[in-house]
């Protein structure tokens, strides 16, 4: 063995990619050069919805300009091309989350619709009155309200697993909620949109399955920041929304194990989801089409496909490394600010940071930041019960994406120091 082979790492396709270059990436997002109130835009609200790279915009425009028609219906060239493009995105999504089969990928409008689909179909079709659904105290309203509606309509119980003051799931409390064996479905977020906490999905899955229940994971935030492998996680359902993954609005995903999808009754009825129809009865199409009634979000799906290609080209591991460096930097910077409190101190966390400031309400903070070009979110972040648990009425939240730079975080920190003295 000579010296050269010793120092050379084994060949790895991912390593052969161009190194992560945030300046280059920023050029792919036309909106980032916009001015706001005469200031350079500093967009720190990607957790609410991310900006779109030119590749996504171009894919949607090009589809409309060159090959647009309805899918699965026409026996003509345009329709065939569009059907291929639309169905091709199913493969891309399946690969993104390592789903065993493309037939397990159902397109919806967003996470909210994916969860409602499961609450309706699985909830009413499979769960029995008297069984329970278990969520956590840090869920988004999208993973609370559909279960409340199911509870009220179908007589299942809704349980809430406690969290710790650090903003992590209380695993003992969680296990207790499963003890009586009545929980049929556990529905948890993969990453909190308020605290940035990642939940230990593999441990949750093991406990869930040991209790005889199925596991739904809300990947709205996590899928943007980390490589997701639904099989390794041990999830039974995984849901996310396209617009946070640099894709367009109006397109979301439900992945579920084939056996579950086969057993579940349809959610909505109409065209595209049927085998055959007569006035007496109809039969259902095979999955995933059984769950895609009506003309789908064709262009939005094509846009999502382009977003996945974009993220893959940059490399999910490189994105994760970039964002976790940013998160460490931001926590260090914000922690130096007198009177600023970061909410949540989870061990495993990502680039979503909520904070409060003594003497300044989150709204006032957000307005002053906005006047300096900095976009953050302020309020309850669609997680009222979590805010109540934390004893807070609102927080400001800065969240990071593929295009966020350390300089932007420095500017946020410097501006927050000025905000603090303004309100003192």
């Amino acid at each position: 063995m000579n010296a050269e082979t010793k120092i050379r790492p084994p060949f790895d396709a991912a390593r052969e990619r161009a190194p992560f270059d945030v300046a280059r990436i920023r050029e792919d997002f036309p909106i980032l050069s916009q001015m706001v109130h005469g200031k350079q835009l500093v967009f720190l609200d990607s957790a609410a919805s991310a900006q779109k790279p030119r590749a996504v915009i171009a894919a949607m425009t090009s589809a409309m300009e060159t090959q647009y028609a309805n899918v699965h219906r026409g026996l003509h060239w345009m329709s065939e091309r569009t059907s291929d493009a639309y169905e091709g995105v199913r493969d891309k999504v399946a690969a993104l989350i390592n789903a065993p089969s493309r037939a397990e990928i159902v397109f919806t409008r967003n996470t909210t619709e994916s969860i409602n689909l499961v609450a309706h179909s699985y909830g009413r079709g499979i769960l029995k009155p008297g069984q329970a659904v278990l969520i956590t105290a840090m869920e988004h309203h999208a993973n609370i309200v559909p279960w409340q509606m199911l509870r009220d309509a179908h007589g299942v119980e809704l349980r809430v697993a406690p969290i710790t003051d650090a903003g992590e799931l209380d695993m003992e409390g969680f296990a207790k909620c499963l003890e009586d064996g009545r929980v049929g479905l556990v529905a948890v977020t993969h990453m909190s949109n308020v605290l940035g906490t990642y939940l230990p999905i593999q441990r949750i899955a093991a406990l869930t399955h040991a209790a005889g229940a199925q596991l739904l994971v809300d990947g709205s935030q996590a899928v943007v920041h980390r490589a997701v492998d639904v099989q390794a996680l041990g999830a039974d359902f995984y849901v996310f929304t396209g617009h946070k993954l640099y894709g367009p609005t109006g397109i979301g995903v439900l992945w579920a194990r084939r056996a579950l999808l086969d057993a579940m009754p349809p959610f909505m009825g109409g065209g595209d989801m049927i085998g055959s129809v007569s006035f007496e009865r109809s039969t259902w199409a095979e999955v995933p089409h059984k769950f895609e009634a009506g003309t789908p979000a064709i262009l939005e799906a094509i846009g999502l496909g382009a977003a996945i290609d974009y993220v893959n080209a940059v490399g999910m591991d490189a994105i994760s490394a970039h964002e976790s460096a940013l998160t460490d930097h931001a926590i260090a910077k914000l922690s130096e600010i007198d009177g600023l409190t970061i909410i949540g101190r989870a061990q495993d966390r990502g680039g979503v940071i909520s904070f409060t400031m003594d003497g300044a309400h989150a709204h006032d903070v957000a307005t002053l930041l906005d006047r300096n070009g900095i976009a953050v979110r302020a309020g309850q972040h669609c997680a009222e019960p979590l805010m109540r648990r934390l004893g807070l009425s609102s927080t400001a939240r800065a969240s990071f994406g593929i295009y966020t730079t350390p300089e932007e975080i420095d500017f946020l920190a410097a501006t927050l120091v000025r905000v603090r003295s303004f309100f003192q």
């Binding site: 709204h363 006032d364 307005t367 002053l368 006047r371 309020g379």
Partner: protein, 152 residues
Amino acid sequence: MSSFDDVRDLYQDVILDRARNPRHMHILDPFDAAARGDNPMCGDQVEVRIRRTPDARVAEAAFQARGCAISLASADLMAEAVRGLPDADIRALASDFRDMARTGATHSATPAIEMLRPLSGVCEYPSRVKCATLPWAALIAALDGAQEAQHE
């Protein structure tokens, strides 16, 4: 350095002062009417209480609140502006105030609306208009005998 000159139209000195040291943020007891206002989008809450004079004017108004500088200052100035007014005048004032918060302009120039004028800058900040109008919605609900303000 920390002047933020361009937000001074919104955060005038009167507003910052009222938000830091509200004069009418206390529990009024006894009271004749009360109502709450909630903004579920942002978590702001206000409760307004009033005491009446024998001839049915507002003798005193006070509030309890959790909210931003704009909502606290608005509630505090409101409590002062409505003192001694009959209901009809308060309703007219509330309507004028709401228009001012949205457009910057008022229909009248009564001493009461003049007292509220420092809040007119909020019209440049559409997402903050509700912060200024929430206490007024609660006050009107109290006059109506309702427990809670209508969501706008």
